[in-house]
Symmetry: C2
Subunit: 357 residues, 2 copies
């Protein structure tokens, strides 16, 4: 069993690929005003989401995305054997407070803005290994809580570099289910007939888990440059492990490299013999319109999460795309590491998604 799953140096090809039973995206108003606004399941008009603080607001976005994803999957909260969750805040406060009410076993994870890729990967491992029938994978970010965590108080109204990105306010949640799973667990109740069957659903057929890659870039206002080498590393390794070339994917989609990171990624992968420019897309570049004045694009765990749950998944489910490599990208910095003059290493987690029937 072990042998046929492990593929190449850093990948897994799932023998019985888990599928995505349901998903949900909850986004803020700025994201709603962008070109993908119509794809998001729910728009929160209040920047505080009815909460008392920015952190509380972000937690509430997660709570609602979680509830909606579970509902969209035709499940109950108790059907989720595990939650795999993370966010950008120190000690994962948005996930901790936002998901508490769900009362489910929780694995907290952190991969900076690559966290959605990590949560999908871990959820796939858990379900495919037979350890759960349904796992909720979820992440979030919030513009204001992230500015407070990593940059300056909003009241300063700091100017932003051309290479800077705008943290997405939103949460994306995905219910990953074991192949052939029609029965809900937990309460043991039979899922209703209206539950979407595995047929026509999107399968997670493989993953390529990233290593930390550090090119020594120290500019936290240019995270695209920090993350692009890690994205290139994971993407090239994915091609090598799976014996594939860029043309075999409808889309290769990174999380939040932005305009600067995009160019670097395309250059590095080309230098390694793979030209991804034809079918490349970046959630950070897409999520906001040019007129929205966000410099290099969107960022944050929530960026790739809402674009995945809101748009990418729908493109796959509709059959518009058949095969997508989804590669959320993370910049590993903290306020402390930045202030201490450290570089900003990157990490990226690639997830292979296929519409197979």
């Amino acid at each position: 069993m072990a042998e046929n799953k492990q593929l190449g140096k850093q990948s897994i090809r799932f023998a019985n690929p888990p599928f995505i039973r349901g998903a949900a995206s909850v986004a803020g108003t700025k994201e709603a005003d962008g070109p993908y606004g119509k794809y998001f399941d729910e728009i929160e008009q209040d920047p505080m989401a009815g909460g008392d603080s920015w952190e509380d607001a972000e937690g509430r976005l997660q709570e609602r995305a979680a509830e909606l994803a579970v509902k969209n999957a035709g499940c109950k909260t108790e059907d989720m054997r595990y939650i795999v969750a993370g966010d950008l805040l120190g000690q994962l406060m948005a996930s901790s407070f936002g998901l508490m009410k769900l009362k489910r076993p929780l694995f907290g994870i952190y991969g900076a803005c690559s966290t959605m890729g990590e949560s999908l990967a871990v959820a796939s491992i858990i379900t495919e290994g037979g350890f759960a029938d349904n796992v909720l994978a979820i992440t979030s970010s919030h513009f204001a809580s992230a500015e407070k965590q990593f940059r300056f108080p909003l009241g300063y109204a700091n100017q932003r570099n051309k290479s800077a990105t705008w943290t997405v306010t939103g949460s994306g949640a995905v219910v990953v289910s074991a192949a052939g799973n029609a029965q809900a667990e937990g309460t043991g109740h039979k899922l209703p007939d209206k539950v979407p069957a595995e047929k026509n659903k999107v399968h997670i057929t493989g993953i390529t888990t990233g290593k930390i890659v550090d090119y020594g870039v120290k500019d936290s206002m240019n995270m695209g440059a920090c993350m692009a080498p890690a994205a290139a590393d994971a993407i090239v390794q994915h091609f090598m492990d799976f014996g594939q070339s860029p043309g075999q994917y409808d889309k290769i989609i990174t999380g939040d490299l932005g305009l600067v990171g995009k160019d670097i990624l395309i250059d590095i992968t080309r230098a390694k013999g793979y030209d991804i420019s034809e079918n490349y897309m970046d959630c950070g570049i897409e999520v906001y319109g040019e007129e929205q004045n966000v410099q290099s694009g969107g960022s944050g765990c929530g960026c790739s999460a809402i674009m995945f749950a809101g748009y990418i998944l729908k493109m796959l489910e509709s059959g518009e795309w058949k095969r997508v490599l989804f590669v959320p990208t993370g910049a590993l910095l903290s306020q402390v590491s930045f202030n201490e003059g450290n570089s900003v290493p990157g990490i990226a987690h690639a997830v292979l998604l296929e519409r197979r029937n």
Copy 2:
């Protein structure tokens, strides 16, 4: 396959339990002066561990524990298919910088001081599911980086409550390997004959993954009270899921409840019909001697990690103990959540360890 692994509401019983091929503990001088000093594999005399900052120091402890655990397992770094790592610092900076040089696929995780339980659980799922032959599970904490992260600058020389705990300086690393695995992966080199065989090793036979439990305690200087309800929840659920009673374990060992948390845990579990007082032990109470002036005991991810890799594992490997429930406990707070007046919820991850041959 799915059915026989999932056990009860929150547990897994592993059909082919993974085993611990090797481990290592690296501790500071205060920990070396405690009653378990002789068990730790390496003592770091320099509080800065040769680094430039407290965060750097903690990362260096992780790097050395990782290298030593891999060596003790008779492996090379390349044999580790994944690293599952975390620490207490915002955005996991000790793990990110400390483990970068290992250049291995990384899942960053966060469960506060329960992180060692979470890393062992995830590593077990990955290996037992056939997704890897060897996984490195590792966590750390450092007194000075934790005080800086969560409390006050050391220079203030703040007085400490009786209920306060002292963050352990140290890192514990464990190589979790798939059952029946004699061949190293990665480089594909055959492990040398001197590698300890699976025989006489400790197996991870099950896990019970914790939920977030919040009794509304807001005192970050009394983390034992914050975490005890979560520990009780996980331990009682474990007994229920496995159909076991406390007397069937040689030891039931929590992470860092300390003296205050211990009493609360014993009271809550007793009220739920399970008396664990006879064979209960807490790493936080044990790690320092009474004369070391640490109030309620030790804490931090490093506390349960060095006690596990340094002492608990050796007691199991020697056959002194045959069956241990290891339950690292975490308090989910950040500097921000505390300052905003939030409660401190807890989480605990139980890992069942057995010496079976």
